[in-house]
């Protein structure tokens, strides 16, 4: 009985470890784009625990998308708790400014001023080169909503840069 329990625990640990190694890097990049490098690890960790505490998480289809959505939700929670999003994000990239001769401060500021959802959509569109349909599937929102969010984000970014 005890041996059976130990074997189960061991299998579960292995599953968690495999899932973490497979999906955490992309989730960590996504979280870094949403909340900055300082909070990214905490956000991904919390999201991962939420997902893997569900009883049948191993049979979830598209666990990668599921985790990204959980990261997005955690980022929302974090921003609700702290109302200083753009300051923190800009502060988070301070080390890069010392070595980067041409920091695009205006764009950094504009990106940091976007909402979590807008930034998630913009990141997936521009950095992952995802289509609007793919973004909709990843974040579990309608394609039309993605289109609107992306359009509003572009307007906000252009406005901030002029």
């Amino acid at each position: 009985m005890v041996e059976h329990q130990l074997a189960n625990d061991d299998a579960r640990r292995r599953q968690l470890s495999d899932a973490w190694r497979t999906y955490a890097p992309a989730a960590m990049r996504f979280a870094t784009a949403l909340v900055g490098p300082t909070d990214a690890h905490d956000v991904v960790t919390t999201a991962f625990l939420r997902v893997t505490r569900q009883p049948h998480w191993t049979s979830l289809e598209h666990l990668d998308r599921y985790l990204l959505r959980a990261v997005r939700n955690e980022a929302h929670n974090l921003y609700r708790d702290r109302q200083r999003r753009w300051q923190r994000d800009l502060r988070a990239v301070i080390p890069a400014w010392n070595t980067d001769p041409t920091p695009d401060l205006d764009l950094l500021r504009a990106v940091a001023a976007l909402s979590v959802q807008q930034r998630a959509v913009v990141f997936l569109a521009y950095w992952h080169d995802m289509t609007e349909a793919e973004i909709g599937e990843t974040l579990d929102v309608a394609r039309s909503s993605v289109h609107r969010t992306l359009a509003r984000a572009r307007v906000a970014l252009r406005k901030a840069l002029t």
């Binding site: 899932a19 973490w20 300051q87 502060r91 400014w97 205006d106 950095w127």
Partner: protein, 207 residues
């Protein structure tokens, strides 16, 4: 413009992603959580509490209506004869909020994004206070200074000069002429109007 924005966005996200932390070991259930988990049982408690409040509220309303209908025909207010006229005494408890941002007349003197916190040898603590409390954008200066002061972002812009004077007055630091030698190569501060050069004395954030 579109192509320019696209490429700049990619570059910006490249910079941000380059700061992605290592994933480390898989988290365990002992790992600290950012926010408490909402469990089905806690949701049940919230629902039960809300239902109780609603029931009590409805019962109260019914009671008030019943009471008012019972006495509507016989309401005669007669003050007791032995009550002296007492002056009304009101104790005022004025609550004075502690400002975390410099404000004047209900409007923030320093708007978020108006200031660039130019770190010229200041402590990390001072720079983070500049960012958190004044909504400043942090930037490392090319050279260090001993004392803190402000200077306009654009020395030819009258509003920047006025803003620098306003910020200097609010923070109790000197105003100096624009000195491009303090700025790192290629840094732009479009949107901001004032450089708050924080020297090694950490003024105005010295503890």
């Amino acid at each position: 413009m579109n192509r320019d924005l696209d490429s700049r966005l990619k570059t910006t996200f490249d910079r941000i992603v380059a700061k992605t932390p290592e994933i480390g070991d898989p988290p365990t259930s002992d790992t600290l959580r950012l926010s408490p988990e909402t469990t089905p049982s806690s949701r049940l408690w919230v629902a039960a509490a809300a239902a109780s409040v609603a029931v009590i509220g409805i019962a109260g309303l019914v009671a008030i209506r019943a009471a008012s209908s019972d006495t509507s025909d016989t309401v005669v207010a007669t003050p007791p004869s032995n009550v002296a006229d007492l002056p009304a005494v009101t104790t005022l408890h004025s609550v004075v909020p502690t400002p975390t941002t410099v404000v004047e007349g209900g409007t923030a003197v320093i708007q978020p994004g108006e200031i660039v916190c130019l770190n010229a040898g200041a402590s990390e603590h001072a720079v983070s206070l500049c960012v958190d409390e004044l909504g400043g954008v942090p930037l490392d200066a090319a050279v260090d200074t001993d004392n803190s002061f402000v200077m306009p972002v654009d020395p030819a812009n009258a509003s920047h000069i006025a803003a620098a004077a306003k910020v200097a007055d609010a923070l109790g630091v000197d105003t100096r002429a624009f000195d491009p030698g303090l700025l790192p190569l290629g840094a732009t501060a479009r949107g901001a109007s004032v450089y708050l050069v924080i020297g090694s004395n950490d003024v105005p954030f010295a503890s």
